[in-house]
């Protein structure tokens, strides 16, 4: 892949995704902007990326890696949420509202709520990588 191909790939991604980890290479997750920067600088991993096909960026990671990627992404997204907001739901007999910190905790310990979020995030990743 070259810089132009990476730029074309990035153009197909939502702006809100460019600084959130999406691509897993050698067990490490990289944001689209990090991938572009490495290819531009042509050093380290960037040099190796130049030898790969751009389709390598669209590869959905294996399940354990996808699971971890979803957790990393959720944490990153929730950390950005302004503190005055919470997430809420209309459920009877269960906790109704969650701050970002509470949700991160649920995701870390993979509670039923945490798993619900992880599963949704996995679908989002698959959708993004298919673009």
């Amino acid at each position: 892949m070259n810089e132009e191909e990476v730029l074309n790939w990035i153009k197909k991604l939502p702006k809100s995704e460019l600084d959130i980890p999406l691509v897993v290479i050698d067990d490490r997750a990289y944001t689209p902007n990090e991938i572009l920067e490495m290819v531009r600088r042509k050093v380290g991993l960037g040099r190796r990326l130049l030898t790969l096909d751009v389709s390598a960026l669209k590869r959905v990671p294996a399940e354990p890696q996808l699971h971890e990627l979803a957790k990393i992404r959720l944490k990153k997204k929730l950390e950005k949420m302004p503190k005055k907001f919470v997430l809420a739901r209309y459920v009877l007999g269960k906790k109704e509202k969650y701050s970002a910190d509470e949700l991160i905790e649920e995701i870390e310990r993979e509670s039923p709520i945490g798993r619900e979020f992880i599963d949704t995030e996995k679908k989002i990743v698959r959708d993004l990588l298919s673009r």
Partner: protein
């Protein structure tokens, strides 16, 4: 023309950890009420409804469509202050030990903004005769303000933050809007799903710090949304009359059913609604001009159409 009942709940638990939680949805429903009226439909709005208020409104107005927001479980939905409304007997939740108010489902469209109810209660309502049901099989997530309620963006200045607190609800209410425009149940569901997608695309292209969180809600709610029942049904269109057989013995002229007199209590209910329902004068509360006259006409019509095995009153 159809009759649309909006049960505009404000708060789940009286001492809710999220004040005015249900108002986040009801304010969006209230905002589209004028549009629904402009399309020729009669819209009845009941504020902070208890179950008694909801049943009273259904009996009085015989609505074709019922929309509400309320805390839910797989087998149950509630109204103001978690007043338990419809339930079906199920082992999925401890309090679902009987079928409750399912007879009110018959020939109606339900839009139920209530977590989980789409997984069990929705199918049960359709089995009980509801024409259609739209709801959510898992949690319905939305963005709210932590300390001061910011329903429909009240108290917020940033247009994106205002959009964020309304975004999932706007997608939900799209089903009702599309039905009111004459779409079928299936087309209305597709419109609602398309609205979810267009909101997803809007937030995907935003760099606002709330964007990722709203996206999480939208993806989850879009996936959770279910629609059940007669996919070709439309509101304000009566069920087709069965065509009589072309052959066979004529059955003669049917004898008209004797008219049931309008009970005195119903007339009193129309003339003194505040006393009986403990609410605002309905002309103001529900936007019905000449409320009392309209109410008596409705009661008179209901008395003639009363069906003892169908949608009659039930004991509480």
């Amino acid at each position: 023309m159809a009759r649309i009942l909006l049960l505009e709940t404000k708060q789940g638990l009286p001492e809710s950890e999220l004040p005015k939680d249900l108002e986040y949805s009801s304010c969006v429903a209230r905002e589209i009420a004028p549009t629904l009226r402009s399309l020729g439909h009669e819209v009845i709005e009941v504020q902070s409804p208890t179950v008694a208020d909801a049943i009273n409104a259904i009996n009085t107005y015989q609505p074709d469509v019922v929309w509400h927001a309320g805390h839910g479980q797989k087998c149950m939905t509630t109204l103001e202050h978690e007043d338990v409304w419809m339930t079906h007997k199920s082992s999925s939740y401890g309090e679902c030990n009987e079928d409750r108010y399912l007879e009110y489902a018959s020939n109606r469209f339900f839009s139920m903004l209530s977590c989980l109810a789409g997984s069990e209660l929705g199918p049960r309502l359709v089995a009980s005769g509801a024409t259609a049901f739209m709801g959510y099989k898992t949690s319905f997530w939305f963005v709210a303000c932590d300390y001061e309620p910011c329903t429909c963006g009240s108290g917020l200045d940033d247009p994106d933050e205002i959009r964020a607190v309304k975004s999932p609800m706007q997608c939900d209410i799209e089903w009702l809007r599309a039905l009111a425009e004459g779409k079928t149940v299936k087309e209305a569901y597709e419109r609602s799903q398309a609205k979810f997608q267009s909101e997803i695309e809007y937030w995907e292209n935003s760099t606002h710090p709330i964007a990722a969180t709203v996206l999480q809600c939208l993806h989850s709610d879009k996936e959770a949304q279910v629609v059940l029942g007669d996919m070709d049904a439309k509101i304000g269109v009566s069920a087709p009359t069965p065509t009589p057989p072309l052959t066979g013995t004529p059955t003669g002229t049917p004898t008209p059913a004797p008219a049931t007199p309008v009970p005195l209590s119903s007339v009193v209910e129309c003339i003194f609604p505040r006393i009986l329902a403990g609410m605002l004068t309905p002309r103001l509360d529900k936007g019905v001009i000449f409320y009392r006259v309209q109410c008596i006409i409705n009661k008179w019509g209901n008395a003639f159409n009363y069906n003892p095995s169908g949608q009659g009153r039930t004991s509480d």
